[in-house]
Amino acid sequence: MSISEFLADLTNPDLAFLPKALLIAVMSSVVCGVVGCYVVLRGMAFIGDAVAHAVFPGLAVAFVLQGSLVVGGAVAGVVTAVLVAVFSQNRRIKEDSVIGVFYVASFALGVVIISQAPGYAGSLQQFLFGSITGVPDEDLYTAAVTGLLLLAAVLLLHQQFVTVSLDRELARAVGLRVFWLDIALYVLVTVAIVISVRTIGNILVLALLVTPAATARLLTDRLGVMMLLAPAIGGSGAVVGLYLSWSYDLPVGGSIVLVLAGVFLAAWTFAPRHGLLARRWRRGGLEENPAPAGAV
């Protein structure tokens, strides 16, 4: 399918779900891209994974009761995020095992709950791998408003997040409330996931959080640039992925994630400073590094 045909379909009133899907996919990617920067830099991808799984029973309950999926997912996710924060304060516990047991269990709970709904195989499939059809308008508004609130929160708390991520000990010494900032960050991660989970699917949403941010990290050493690049990469990946999915009748979550993974691989190979080729090149050539003459 050509680009112009895709554009025609986007504006076709019979296919009204398509622009909505595009909108929500792009919003999800942008929000996840921004929050994902903290996730990648703090090496807390496991939290994203945990929350993505834990959101599931909330979605399932909302689905069975015909309530709002966003609200159901958010409640389950936030509860989880707070529990993770509480568990990981005590660094003597190996948190990954706790999380492993706990979250797979909540995922299982979701499966059991959703099996109570009629036609459950289809809905399970939707939850796991995402779907672009039938996004209600109110979900679109909820996602837009929460997304904006989330970006505003990031803007306001950025300095604090950076201070804690850089050095927890100093953050405490200068009087930051490290525990509450952790909770705030986990809640932001949860919200980003909940907004995205419906289009991208439960299993693949982690990629939206991690891949664009990791790609951006390869391309820059400046945090500000990284936090602009990651949503840009995520947003473009969503557009291209949705286009491919629509053209070749592929699952949308899978297409978006594969596009993002492709971009990551390209950056990993070709990135100007940290890429594979650049490193090879430098190792081959002369290192320009003047002798440290009394330099500390």
Binding site: L157, Q159, V162, E169, L170, A171, V174, G175, L223, V296
Partner: protein, 247 residues
């Protein structure tokens, strides 16, 4: 004039007494070396001065008042490995994080904050590298970034935890020079170190710590091996004591 007073501080961690009845006073202009074996409680003492561990009894006064982290005039330089050096951040922004507590919640750094950061970088001689990513610095430069981050608060008391670990001798000397200058600029500097010779040579005071303060005096008055044997739990034949003979 004394700016920091530690009075009868006792700290328990995990059910054991880690610090017992610590008395320590820091005067402006002093460069005090805090010396003791591994596990003596040096880091814990610094952390209790900062209010980061709960003190079971006793108190810590800065300028005659209890410490409040957010308003504090105590600068802290934790050990270098606490810092995420792979974080994509420039030197100046890393130094700015020293002021985050003062900037406060929901606000961004202002003109005054940037001025303080510039002054701190100037002070440690890192102005030229202000925009360099922290990951591309040498060990000595990294240590100076951490000192600048502490100085960004314009503190009167500076606490340094093992600032020389992993640095070569010339770099250690340069940093020692910096710490001596800072002490000379109306600050009290307290640093933990395992470099006994260096400390005896450059500090104006030495505090020997092992769970409690074993001795606290100028280096010239600490040439008797007895307190060192007590602090380190070693016998008369220990090579450690040879250092004292060199002095």
């Amino acid at each position: 004039m004394s700016v920091l007073e530690v009075r009868g501080v006792t700290v328990g961690l995990g059910g054991r007494t880690v610090l017992r009845d610590i008395d320590l006073t820091l005067d402006l202009g002093d460069l005090t070396g805090l010396i003791g074996p591994n596990g003596a409680g040096k880091t814990t003492l610094l952390r209790s001065i900062l209010g980061l561990v709960r003190v079971a009894s006793g108190r810590v006064l800065v300028d005659g008042r209890p410490v409040r982290p957010r308003r504090s005039t105590v600068g802290y330089v934790p050990q270098r490995h606490e810092f995420a050096w792979d974080f994509p951040i420039s030197v100046e922004n890393a130094v700015m994080t020293g002021r985050t507590g003062r900037i406060g919640l929901l606000r961004r750094p202002g003109v005054e904050d940037w001025r303080a950061v510039a002054a701190a970088l100037e002070r440690v001689g890192m102005t030229d590298l202000a925009r360099r990513p922290v990951g591309e610095l040498s060990g000595g430069q990294r240590q100076r970034v951490l000192v600048a981050r502490a100085l960004a608060l314009q503190p009167r008391v500076l606490l340094l935890d093992e600032p020389f670990t992993g640095l070569d001798l010339p770099t250690q000397e340069l940093l020692t020079g910096l710490f001596q200058e800072l002490a000379g600029e109306d600050k009290a500097v307290l640093m933990t170190t395992h470099d006994l010779l260096g400390a005896l040579d450059t500090c104006t005071r030495i505090a020997l710590l092992n769970r409690t303060i074993v001795a606290d005096a100028p280096p010239s008055e600490l040439l008797d091996p007895e307190p060192w044997m007590r602090a380190f739990g070693v016998g008369e034949s220990s090579p450690l004591l040879k250092i004292l003979k060199v002095m």
